[in-house]
Symmetry: C2
C-alpha cells in the first residue's frame, strides 16, 4: 500500500540566515525567491515520503535522470495575496491543484491529495511571511513543480518523482497600469494539436514556442497568437488565453468570445473566472458570452466593419492583458482602446472585478481562500 | 565575441576509484554508466567555457532552472564499437552531431562545432576504455545531452546552457537474436504534427508518449505505431522509424516503404542508412525504395491480399526490430516471418549489412569512423 501525501508528516528546517524583503520596485517576475522550499519525494514502491520544508537550495540529480532527457515535468502558477487584516489568501487554488493532478496523470507522474498539498503550501508561505510584498498588484507567485527522478535512459513510466514548491515575490505585471500588447497571429508554427498535450501545464509545451516568439519579436510583436488548422482558428497565446469582444452593428448586441476547451487550450483559472463573472454580471440582453471557434479572418473582417471592440489575454501573471494590435499576413488588425487609455472598457472592468476578489475586498463564492493567518 | 566550443581547452580530472567492467550478461540498457562524464557550460555572454572531463557525478541545479519548468532539453543517441584491432569506431557520428545542432536551434539552445564535440567524445571514451564491452552486439551507448540552465520563471530564450555527455555499456537489444514485436496502431493520441517539433530529438517529444504506451501495453502491445491525420498515415514508433515491405502480386515487384521526412518524423540515422543501402544493394528491377505516405488501411488491405511481406522498426538501439503484428481497430494485422524465425528476409539482411559496417568488417563510404585508438 503506497503512502498518500500527508501534511501531518511535515518536517520544517528553518534557514539560519533569513533574507530581507526587497523594495517593491525591485521585484522582477520569477527572479527573486523566498528563503524556503517544500519538497516531497515519491517512489512507486512506497508512495509519498514525508514532506519537508527546508532552506531554498539546489537540487542534486544524476545526469541520467529522466527529467533531463524525456521532459517528465509539469508545473502550476498561483499567487498568494496579503490582505489588510494580515491573512494570506489564494485565488481558487483548488482549480490549480486539480489541473496539476490532470497534468501529472497525462505523463504518468503520481497523483496527490489536493487538500494536503494546499495545506503544505500554506505552511510554506507562513515561513517567509515577511517576504510577501504588500500592496495592490503585489503578491507571492507560487510555483508547484513535479519532475520525474527515475535514473536511466529507457523511455518508460517514472518510478520516482519529486514534487517541490518555490515562491517568488512579484509586483504588478505592468508597473504603471495596463500596457496593451501587440501579438503576431502565427500559422508558421503550431503550439498544440488534438490528441496532444496543449491543455496540460507540461514543460513540453513551452520550449518549442520560444523560437517563434523570438521571430515574432524581431517583427515587433511581444507574443504569438497561435492559430490552428486550415481555418486559422484562434487558440491562445501560450502564456495566456485569448478573449475578443465584438459588437453586432445591426443589433447593437455585444459578444465576449474565447476558444472552447477542445484539448488544445490551457484550462486557465483566470479564463474560467472571467467567463463566470461575465455570465453573472453582464446584462444578457446586451451580451452573449460564448466559448466558440473564432478565426483570425473573422477578427480581421469585423475589425474592418468596426465590429471589433476589444481584445485581451488572461492569465495568472497579468490577470488581463489588453491587446492593441494583431499582425496577420503583413497587415495590422488594430484593436480599439478607451481614449487616452491602454485598455477597453470590459477589460478594465474585469480586472477590477477579479482584483476586488483576490485582495479580499469582495467575497465571491469562496474563490478567495485563506491559506494562512499571520496574526 | 563569444567563444566557440574548443576541444584543445579540455581539462581532464580522472576518478580515483575506477570501476570494474560488469559481465556482458548483466548489462541493462541505460542503467550502468562509465566512470567519467564530459561537461561544457555555455553562457550567452561568453560562449562555450572550457570543456571538462571529470568523474561521473550529480548535477547541482537551482530549482528555478528552466530545464525543470519549460523542457529546454535535447539529446542524441549514439554507439561506439570496439573493433578487433582495438580501435573505437562510431557509426556516422556526423549525422548525430548535425541533428543535435538542429534540435538546439529549434529551442534556442546554443549551436556548437560538430567536429570539436566528436573529438571530445573520443577523449571521453578513451578514459573508460576498459568499460567498453567486447563482442558482436555489445557497444558503448553514448548520450550527448544539452539543457537550458538559466535560472528564473520567465519563458524566454535561454542565456545559459550545459552540454554534457554520459556513456552506458550496453548489450544486444535482443539477447537471443531477433524478437519480433507487436505494435498498436494509435489514433487516440498524436505524437507529432506539422509546425511542431516531432522531427527533433527534444525531451518534449517523449513524456507525452508514455501514457499511450502504457495503454497499448495493457492490451498486449510493446509500442505504439503512431498514425497521423484523417487518412491515418503511418508515421513512426517514437523510439524507431517504421518500414514496410510489400510485394505486388500482379507484377512480382517488391517495395520498401517508409514515411517521408515531412517535419513530423525523426530523421533517424539508421533510417537513412537503410534507405542508402537498399538503394545501392537491392536490384532495382525487383525493388522500389520509396519514402511515401502509407496508411494503416493500405497495410491492412495488403495484408489481406497477401501483399504485406515484412515490417520492421529502425533505430540506434536495436538497429532493426522486426514487427510481427499490428493491432488496429480491434483486429490484428499479422506480418509474415521466415519459417521458424523472428524476422523476414530483408530485415535480417539489413541487420547483417549494418552490423558488418559498424564492427569494421566492411568499409562503406567512411560510415564507420575511428574516434579513438586504444593501442
Amino acid at each position: 500500500m503506497s503512502a498518500p501525501l500527508d501534511s501531518s508528516k511535515l518536517t520544517v528546517t528553518r534557514t539560519t540566515t533569513p533574507s530581507q524583503p526587497k523594495p517593491n520596485d525591485q521585484l522582477v517576475f520569477g527572479q527573486t525567491f523566498t528563503d524556503h522550499m517544500l519538497t516531497v519525494e515519491w517512489t512507486e514502491e512506497k508512495g509519498w515520503a514525508n514532506p519537508e520544508i527546508k532552506p531554498y537550495a539546489p537540487l542534486s540529480l544524476d545526469p541520467a535522470t529522466i527529467v533531463f532527457h524525456y521532459a517528465f515535468e509539469l508545473f502550476e502558477g498561483m499567487k498568494a495575496y496579503r490582505t489588510e487584516d494580515n491573512k494570506i489568501t489564494m485565488f481558487r487554488p483548488d482549480m490549480n491543484m486539480k489541473r496539476m493532478n490532470k497534468s501529472a496523470a497525462r505523463i504518468c507522474l503520481p497523483k496527490f491529495d489536493e487538500e494536503e498539498l494546499l495545506k503544505l503550501i500554506g505552511t510554506l508561505i507562513e515561513q517567509d511571511k515577511h517576504l510577501i510584498p504588500v500592496g495592490q498588484g503585489y503578491s507571492l507567485y507560487i510555483r508547484p513543480t513535479m519532475i520525474g527522478t527515475s535514473v536511466g535512459l529507457g523511455v518508460s513510466t517514472p518510478d520516482k518523482a519529486l514534487l517541490y514548491v518555490i515562491c517568488s515575490p512579484v509586483g504588478p505585471y505592468y508597473k504603471t497600469g495596463f500596457k496593451a500588447v501587440k501579438l503576431e497571429a502565427t500559422d508558421y508554427a503550431t503550439r498544440a494539436w488534438p490528441g496532444g498535450v496543449g491543455d496540460k501545464k507540461l514543460g513540453a509545451n513551452y520550449a518549442p514556442c520560444v523560437l517563434p516568439q523570438l521571430q515574432a519579436a524581431e517583427r515587433g510583436y511581444q507574443q504569438n497568437l497561435w492559430l490552428f488548422g486550415p481555418e486559422h482558428n484562434i487558440t491562445e497565446v501560450g502564456t495566456m488565453n485569448a478573449f475578443f469582444v465584438f459588437q453586432n452593428l445591426a443589433t447593437g448586441k455585444k459578444e465576449l468570445v474565447t476558444a472552447p476547451l477542445d484539448g488544445t487550450i490551457l484550462e486557465g483559472v483566470t479564463r474560467d473566472s472571467i467567463l463566470n463573472l461575465a455570465r453573472e454580471r453582464l446584462d444578457s440582453n446586451e451580451w452573449d458570452i460564448n466559448e466558440r471557434y473564432c478565426t483570425i479572418t473573422e477578427v480581421a473582417e469585423r475589425s474592418k466593419n468596426g465590429e471589433l471592440v476589444e481584445a485581451f489575454g488572461s492569465g495568472t501573471a497579468a490577470i488581463v492583458s489588453p491587446i492593441k494590435e494583431i499582425g496577420w499576413k503583413g497587415e495590422s488588425i488594430n484593436v480599439p482602446l478607451l481614449p487616452g487609455e491602454q485598455s477597453g472598457a470590459l477589460t478594465k472592468q474585469i480586472a477590477a472585478w477579479i482584483g476586488d476578489i483576490q485582495y479580499g475586498r469582495q467575497e465571491h463564492k469562496g474563490w478567495s481562500r485563506v491559506v494562512a493567518d499571520l496574526k
